[in-house]
Point group: C2
Chain length 207, copies 2
């Protein structure tokens, strides 16, 4: 898995002219950084004096952000996989009508997966942003800034994922699928932007 690489190695591969890992995997890992910071807030709040009333909520925050972090790590690899399938489909032979039809079908099928993967990433980032609201409201005031860092990281990952949805949805012939994907994405973007600003403002109040 990508998360088993060193940060240095991952950054070097990202910077290189190799097509993957690219922006989709980078976005998933930025989202994972956000989720990890929310777990940190939970871990530094649960069991602490003065925070007894939110103890259960903070333990749930840790469990939920750990789960989302795992999902995001998986989606970093999924991006490489679906991008590879799109590339492989475009490289299929197109010598005669049958080959051209098979290639067209393979491209369309790969594009569906390559739209669904960043859409799923956007959904998970939306969940991280939602969790950040709890971290910002109930978290230990000594580490509330980490909830703020977490939310801006998750929001950046959501916006980044959106770019990949737009690119791939644009080439899909099944317009009903593509329009539904873009409509869901735009709801996620609108809700995500509003919640991120609310969380960031709350963090600044509590600093």
């Amino acid at each position: 898995m990508i998360v088993d690489r060193t940060l240095r190695g991952f950054l070097e591969e990202l910077a290189s002219s190799a097509p993957t890992p690219g922006g989709g995997s980078a976005a998933a890992l930025v989202g994972a950084v956000g989720a990890a910071l929310l777990a940190m807030v939970g871990n530094l709040t649960a069991g602490k004096k003065g925070y007894e009333a939110v103890d259960r909520s903070m333990r749930d925050l840790v469990a939920e952000s750990d789960r989302l972090r795992g999902e995001l790590a998986r989606l970093a690899d999924e991006d490489v996989r679906v991008f590879g399938e799109v590339m492989a489909a475009y490289r299929m032979p197109r010598g005669d009508d049958a080959e051209r039809a098979a290639r067209r079908d393979a491209i369309q099928s790969a594009l569906l997966a390559a739209t669904e993967a960043p859409l799923e990433l956007a959904r998970v980032c939306g969940e991280v942003i939602e969790l950040a609201a709890t971290a910002a409201e109930e978290g230990n005031s000594n580490v509330v800034s980490d909830a703020g860092v977490g939310v801006v990281a998750a929001h950046a990952a959501l916006r980044a994922a959106a770019l990949n949805v737009y690119i791939n949805a644009g080439s899909i012939q099944d317009r009903e699928f593509a329009d539904r994907a873009v409509a869901e994405l735009e709801r996620l973007l609108a809700v995500g932007a509003e919640r991120t600003e609310a969380v960031f403002a709350r963090v600044r109040e509590r600093l």
Copy 2:
């Protein structure tokens, strides 16, 4: 260095109740992801047919984003170091007046460094955002989305760094220093937000 750890190990330490690495290191690494993506755009544009006119500019983009990535990797460690100095100063003995004075001086000196480090991070993120404009305008249209991912990552890192500047500047007794730091930060935030939205819009146009 932090960048020599695996992503999995780094994310686990971030999520844990250990005080460092925390939001400051996380922000620096999110910024480094942004810088790496700009280098990728440059590396996939320089030398490519149709992009001869921007060849030199793209080679400069790679060199400059590699340099900024190195700075950001260094600042991920610097955050741990300055946070450790603040913690160590607060733990100094305060048995008599001389000890209390020494502790107060050590805290103030540590807070200056702990304000300067995230301010420097914010400046470097501002430079990454500026470079992203070139990547979005001149980069290979096949990878222009990576310039968009790069700019939102750098902007998230800038906003995250801002939180640490606010926290530490708030406890500094040298108000002239603190006010100057906050004023510079607010310029960086204003310029960064405006440029990020312009770059993101330009990327969406070119998708």
